[in-house]
């Protein structure tokens, strides 16, 4: 019996019903009566692996797909059920740690609202159909469309999922692949590309002595929260670095800052220039590393001017500047609010220039790895592709659209006009695990196996010190027989198109094992035989990739930062912040994350709008009042939550809620601020300027209690959280 079959049969369960350790402690009649014989079924394994022992958990390595960070995980499997996810200690991204989204992955797998069979649109609704019919339909439609009228819309894809999509595109002649992620770093990546010559420059928070985060929620909703949280721990542990957070709304990361400074949202670039100006004026940095035009621009942005634009006092800017001057290396990180502006590229470039001036490049910003297998690298998403996709939909240039890992019906702003025109696309196919909003609009729905039932590989954009290809392997047998792995679905299509190339593979598993073994030479593995290599890959959940570190080619150029202009009609800046937990809304169907309080506001199960108490007082708003937030594109009504971690000219509404579908836990809960956004884009990169929308607020007469954890925001002198100043600490711990 081949290893392969064994591996795949391992999940024959010992009594899923019998051993579900889930009976209730309350049902205890005297114990002799409870112990009834013959009531429970106990199904033995059919043909288990030697190491599978009932009653003992077995840990299988895999890769987390809850966000795009690509953490390595270990899944605890007992009696054929995946019970718990822990971090893979060998994974360079997370080193055994997990975030709450990773922990909740199992709830996605066991979600009661999964799609269990293929469906097609019949009249108004979706009806279940067979796979044969679904495949025939898809083949027919694909054959009838020319390649430039077929499009993929996906989230960030990497590894062999990306390879399969590209194979598919090649086979069908499809020309478009839109990669859409709401939480993204696209502007930063293009700045890195343009200024450093490497889009995948890696942040090294752990190596910094001072981190100036301009709205970057790097430990919360970021491209790799666990990696940065780990780096942060290192940063705090040894020499005890200082985190300065300057932002319009206090993010989770801001909550851990030594100094938190509110700034007028969108003006962070001016602050960076102001700081550069201060540093150059003090003469502690080498001005020659930046171009003459930029130098001139920096000279224009005096601290006073920066103070005027940003609303941060000049004194404060100077004191931050002093810290940056005194303590090296430092790191300045731009967040989503910086990048999501019409001049987001310019502002981000200004921040990069500050890093260059401070000499951080090469120290705390390290070049990425030159991975030999380009086709496996992550194709990172952004919002620019969404804009372009919407444009094409509007212009009726697409006949067949395939959605996977993206939910644009939910995430697209109304102003893009996309929702109105999607209906005009003749054939929309959704490959999805959950019935999200896009699925509800689709003409054909293909049920994708959950991440814990599927094969795949993932390559993290930033995997710390060692580039790896994370292997995703099933942790459990399929819950629903009629679902299929993403790779299997695509392979099925490919087999029809190109039987001679793909016919040799029985399934995606065969394809993947083949493909992985083929890359043995680019890996750091010392295994000699393909079988051993494959088994090692499965055991480790990853394959280390041999890759030299790239080199930076630093180049600077002039940046254009506009002055701040007040808007009389829409006085407040809307900050649609993603948060660790529900993220961009993709995890709203996981009850653990719905019940897990927001890290800062501590609200559960709902949406809310964050306002500074002073701003609120201006409008006569009290906490719990329902307020209408109006932009030029529409309005949403939600509950006001007042707290001081806000700039007075901003209002923040967290992302994640406001689903009209997406299962019982998400549906009809809260509001989606993305709907309000203007269709403005960053001039350079074409990314949606997500933080550029301005709104006004109107108090309604209604109130609605916010459901929050915790009655008191203050400790009332109880000394729960005690604080010591870093000076005191330095005096003692050094000794």
């Amino acid at each position: 019996m081949s290893g392969k079959l064994n591996r795949r049969e391992f999940l024959k369960a010992l009594g899923v019903s019998g051993a579900a350790g889930a009976t209730l402690a309350g049902c205890d009649l005297p114990s002799t009566i409870t112990l009834e014989e013959g009531k429970e079924e106990v199904v033995s394994y059919f043909m288990p692996e030697e190491y599978v022992v009932p009653g003992v958990g077995v840990w299988y390595a895999s890769t987390c797909t809850q966000c795009t960070a690509g953490c390595g995980i270990h899944g605890r499997v007992r009696e054929g059920r995946i019970l718990k996810v822990e971090g893979n200690p060998d994974a360079p991204v997370n080193a055994g740690k997990t975030c709450q989204m990773g922990q909740a992955g199992v709830q996605g797998h066991y979600n009661p609202d999964r799609i269990t069979s293929p469906m097609m649109r019949d009249g108004g609704g979706l009806v279940a159909i067979s796979w044969d019919k679904a495949e025939a339909m898809l083949t027919e439609k694909l054959a009838g469309a020319s390649g430039d009228r077929i499009a993929w819309v996906t989230g960030t894809v990497s590894g062999h999922q990306r390879v399969m999509i590209e194979n598919f595109m090649e086979a069908t002649g499809a020309k478009h692949h839109y990669v859409h992620e709401v939480v993204n770093n696209r502007v930063w990546e293009s700045v890195c590309q343009d200024m450093l010559g490497d889009a995948n420059a890696r942040l090294r928070i752990d190596k910094a002595d001072v981190v100036l985060s301009l709205g970057a929620d790097f430990m919360g909703a970021s491209s790799s929260p666990v990696l940065y949280a780990r780096q942060y721990a290192e940063f705090r542990r040894g020499k005890r670095g200082t985190l300065i957070q300057v932002e319009g709304k206090m993010t989770m990361t801001g909550g851990s800052a030594d100094l938190w400074v509110p700034i007028r949202p969108g003006t962070e670039g001016a602050l960076a220039l102001g700081l550069a100006n201060y540093l150059l004026r003090k003469g502690d940095v080498d001005g020659s590393v930046v171009s003459a035009e930029l130098r001139k621009r920096i000279d224009e942005f005096t601290v006073e001017r920066a103070a005027e634009i940003t609303g941060v006092s000049g004194d404060r800017i100077q004191r931050i500047g002093k810290v940056l001057r005194d303590r090296r290396p430092s790191l300045v990180i731009p967040g989503a609010a910086v990048q999501g502006q019409e001049f987001g590229y310019q502002a981000t470039a200004a921040i990069m220039a500050l890093n260059i001036l401070l000499g951080n490049v090469g120290k705390t910003i390290e070049p990425g790895f030159d991975v030999p297998l380009k086709q496996l690298q992550a194709k990172t998403g952004g919002t620019g592709d969404l804009v372009r996709f919407a444009e094409n939909v509007k212009n009726k240039q697409l006949d067949v659209v395939l959605f996977y890992g993206a939910n644009p019906v939910y995430t697209a702003p109304i102003a893009l006009g996309f929702r109105d025109f999607l209906g005009s696309v003749p054939f929309k196919v959704a490959l999805s695990t959950f019935p999200d909003e896009t699925v509800m609009q689709a003409d054909l729905v293909l049920p994708v196996a959950s991440a814990m039932e599927d094969w795949g590989t993932h390559m993290a954009v930033n995997s710390g010190e060692q580039p790896v290809l994370g292997v995703q392997q099933p942790l459990m047998e399929k819950l629903y027989a009629d679902t299929r792995g993403f790779g299997d679905i695509l392979l099925g299509m490919l087999k029809q198109k190109k039987p001679d190339t793909y016919g040799q593979y029985a399934d995606f598993y065969a394809y993947l094992s083949n493909a992985l073994v083929a890359m043995k030479d680019s890996s750091v593995s010392v295994q000699t035989t393909p079988k051993a290599f494959w088994e090692e890959a499965l055991q480790n959940g990853q394959v280390g990739v041999k890759a030299p570190v790239k080199k930076f080619a630093v180049k600077t150029f002039d940046v254009q930062i506009p002055d701040h202009q007040a808007d009389a009609e829409f006085p407040l800046a809307l900050m649609p912040t993603a948060r660790m937990g529900l993220f961009d809304g993709r995890h709203a169907n996981l009850p653990w994350l719905q019940e897990s309080p927001d890290q800062i506001a501590k609200v559960v199960w709902d949406s809310w709008a964050e306002l500074h108490p002073i701003t609120a007082a201006k409008y006569g708003i009290k906490e719990g009042d329902l307020i209408r937030i109006e932009s030029a594109n529409g309005a949403i009504t939600t509950t006001a939550y007042l707290f001081k971690g806000m700039h007075q000219e901003a209002i923040a509404v967290p992302l994640g809620q406001g689903h009209s579908d997406y299962g019982r836990y998400a549906r009809g809960r809260g509001v989606n601020p993305l709907t309000l956004l203007d269709a403005r884009v960053d001039a350079k990169t074409g990314e949606l300027a997500m933080y550029a929308t301005r709104v006004k607020i109107v108090r309604t007469d209604e109130t609605k209690d916010i459901v929050r954890l915790g009655a008191s925001d203050v400790q009332m002198g109880r000394g729960f959280v005690r604080t010591v100043s870093v000076d005191t600490l330095r005096r003692t711990e050094g000794a």
Partner: protein, 285 residues
């Protein structure tokens, strides 16, 4: 707590915590939580839900205060004591204060003596045990917990919290508690049990780092350290020692005022097994 047990060990039971309590401890599981590293991300809390079959109660019951989070991350806006200004500032310039709060496994626990049926008691491992099946739901223990870390099953959550097939995720190593039962953080006793069984099978002692609690394992910054304080080589014992936190006292008399360890509500003489390390803030900017 049988009658015979009481009679035999009467004088032992009268020993105070400062004399090591009445147990011959096999282990004394404890924690050290570094608040400087805690970023308030809730990974620990969600990991606890996943490990310990915690019920998701839903919005309306959460609003009523009937949530079941054994480990809650509290968030405070207090300015640190370093600032002497009495004016409340307009912005939380020192960020937030996060506090992961779980059962403190007190060595002189207030919950233990009040349980009428001894469903909660002190184990030879230094834990506050809660025997679910013995609990009759008088809820006195929860009333008497100054940390408010005991959670009561006000409803039967089996159907509402784990609709099929979510119930397949339930950890078979511990029960799902039905209505009328008190529950609380157990320091992942099922993991302790498994590790001890494993060690016993190999005729050795449990080693430090062999296992940890779900919260400590998940914590991205490693702020939570769990281990056996009787094992002097363990990380947690070293931390307690390094920060000069002593057991069995209700006030720490530290020679060096800058040692960061402290325990919450120590003055109530409950002798908790969780030590927190003070948050550090650079206030000189």
């Amino acid at each position: 707590m049988s009658l015979q047990n009481i009679m035999e060990n009467w004088s032992n039971y009268r020993r105070g915590a400062e004399e090591g309590g009445h147990h011959k401890y096999e282990h004394r599981w404890g924690m050290a939580i570094n608040l400087d590293l805690c970023i308030g991300c809730n990974a620990c809390s969600t990991a606890c839900y996943a490990e310990n079959n915690l019920a998701v109660v839903g919005k309306s019951r959460f609003a009523k205060g009937q949530a079941m989070h054994w480990l809650r991350v509290e968030r405070y806006w207090d300015e640190s004591q370093n600032k002497s200004s009495s004016v409340t500032p307009d912005y939380p310039e020192e960020g937030a204060s996060f506090l992961p709060m779980m059962c403190q496994q007190c060595n002189s626990a207030t919950c233990e003596p009040v349980c009428p049926v001894a469903a909660t008691y002190h184990t030879p491992d230094g834990l506050n045990a809660q025997v679910y099946n013995r609990c009759i739901g008088s809820r006195y223990c929860s009333n008497n917990c100054p940390y408010r870390n005991r959670y009561f099953n006000f409803f039967s959550y089996y159907e509402s919290s784990w609709p099929e097939p979510l119930n397949l995720q339930l950890n078979p190593d511990l029960t799902v508690r039905d209505k009328g039962v008190m529950e609380k953080c157990t320091f992942c006793v099922q993991r302790i049990r498994a590790a001890k069984d494993k060690a016993k099978m190999a005729d050795r002692k449990v080693q430090d780092g062999e296992f940890t609690t779900a919260c400590a394992q998940a914590c991205p910054t490693g702020a939570i350290v769990f281990g056996d304080r009787l094992d002097e080589t363990s990380k947690v014992a070293k931390l307690w020692q390094q920060h000069e936190v002593k057991l069995g006292v209700y006030k720490q008399h530290k020679q060096n005022p800058e040692k960061r360890g402290y325990r919450i509500f120590e003055e109530l003489n409950v002798d908790p097994s969780v030590m927190y390390l003070e948050r550090v803030r650079d206030t000189g900017i």
